[in-house]
Amino acid sequence: MNMMQDSEGFSIRIPAKTQTKEPVYIQARMSGSSRNRIVVEAGSSANIVIRYLSEEEHLNADELNEVLLEDNASLNIVLLQRLNLSTHLKTHTTVSQAADSMVKIHYIALSGENIDNSLQVNLNGKNAEHTAHGLSFTEGTELMGNHVRIVHTAPECRSNQLFKHILSGTSTGNFTGQIIVNKEAQKTTAYQRSSNILLNSKAKMNIQPQLEIYADDVKCSHGATVGQIDSEAVFYLQTRGIDKQDAEKLLLCAFAEETLEGINIENIKSEIIQYVNQKLITS
């Protein structure tokens, strides 16, 4: 693996036919703009965790990630965002996937005044697969958005989007999910789901699904829900001896954990679950 990091950003290149077992951990730069590049060459695989942490107040960061997967390459990438409550972060990631490649990307946004993640995926080679999951917690006046655009250019590709927001206070969440299936992309499978829970009636969630399908042999679906914690489920748990608060926490945890499916770095997954638990105690 080749890696370099300078004032502009970082660059990672996994040479062909290399299976990197140990995950790569990267600390994102939290001020100004940076430009990063990840290339996974043919037949290789990599696990990457990008941590976004801000200690100082009023930081403003803008990040551009360019991700390239060659034939039969695979990448599991987690963007873990725990920012100071006065920090603004904008990430824009473009992913290009060649034939038989696979990407799983997880956006975990736990805190920050304003976080905006956008993802553009191009499935350029046959039989490529892309999974994009997101989990965002907002409280107070925080604002978080996920904007996904997946373009199916080649046939027989699969894409799957699952984005969830848990919102309290007067916070706001935004989700824009676009699926574009070009005429040549026959036998596409593309799913998109946005599920959201408002813990406070003053919190707000905006959802914009958008499907543009130009091929005729495709399986596509999208669904969006905004709701509260299922009171019937809370009562069911209560009748078994579990206190209301614990019941609600259990349900929210279960709701959140669905988005963590596919993270194959166990210690990162448990770290996130721990943060989620902490979050739910205070919210």
Binding site: D230, S231, E232, A233, F235, Y236, L237, Q238, T239, R240, G241, I242, D243, K244, D246, A247, L250, L251, C253, A254, F255, E257, E258
Partner: protein
């Protein structure tokens, strides 16, 4: 053990229970029957503390405590169990985690340490066998994708795990075929003991062929209008409720 005195209760402004009295002692099985809309499920809701139901008059005592002053979880920890008419699916919460939490919360309230893992697993296996619940269901999320019969068996499985002192079965027979009914009733009978009691709420006599009640009460118009032994159930099956109600 349970004493309901002159209970008046309303839901969404409609008075449903109008002066209901009921005494249940340990070791007894009580069947509460009645026409639709008589207030049977309201009674179950009131006993377990469901939100949206308001008691406007009367009192309920359970093992020396004022039941109405307790929240639903506290009632459960005092040994009250409700088998739901419509068990709730809870995606993402595994049966094992759910039951472990429930059992340990109940043990904690009795000053007991958490149940050792080996004992918990052993009990899961034994009790699943009792209601012929497939082992694969136990590794799934609570009720998720269970058939109607499996959900009802899962209710009795949970009851077996939690060993309540007062079990309330709300229309447990609805939607069950005869085989499932036999299994569910078998589970309930196996769990019966001299220190616990059961209230069976049912519209039909059918379940009472398998769970033999000591008392049968007819609930109509918000109160109990007749109480007798098990033979009353057969009479109701034959004649319906009209002769009592009018």
């Amino acid at each position: 053990m349970l004493s309901i005195r002159n209970l008046y209760a309303s839901v969404a402004g409609n008075m449903i229970l109008k002066g209901l009295n009921l005494e249940v002692n340990t070791g007894e099985v009580h069947a509460i029957m009645g026409p639709n809309g008589a207030g049977k499920s309201t009674l179950a809701a009131i006993l377990t503390g469901r939100e949206g139901y308001e008691v406007t008059e009367g009192e309920i005592w359970y093992e020396g405590s004022n039941l109405l002053a307790l929240n639903p979880a506290e009632r459960a920890r005092k040994g009250i169990f409700l088998s739901f008419q419509y068990p709730v699916e809870i995606p993402g919460v595994s049966m094992a985690n759910f039951l472990k939490l429930a059992i340990n919360e109940q043990r904690k309230s009795r000053g007991l340490p958490p149940m050792p893992a080996a004992e918990f697993l052993k009990r899961m296996r034994e009790k699943a066998k009792l209601v012929e619940l497939d082992a694969s269901l136990i590794s799934r999320s609570v009720n998720e994708g269970f058939s109607g019969g499996e959900k009802k068996r899962n209710e009795i499985f949970q009851m077996a795990m939690l060993e309540p002192t007062l079990a309330i079965l709300d229309e447990t027979d609805s939607g069950l075929d005869i085989d499932a009914l036999r299994i569910v009733a078998g589970g309930v009978n196996a769990l019966k003991n001299k220190d616990s009691a059961t209230i069976v709420i049912t519209h039909y006599q059918r379940l009472l062929d398998y769970i033999i009640p000591d008392f049968v009460h007819v609930l109509a118009g918000g109160k109990i209008i007749k109480s007798a032994g098990k033979e009353l159930a057969l009479e109701l099956e034959e004649k319906g409720y009209e002769w009592l109600v009018s």
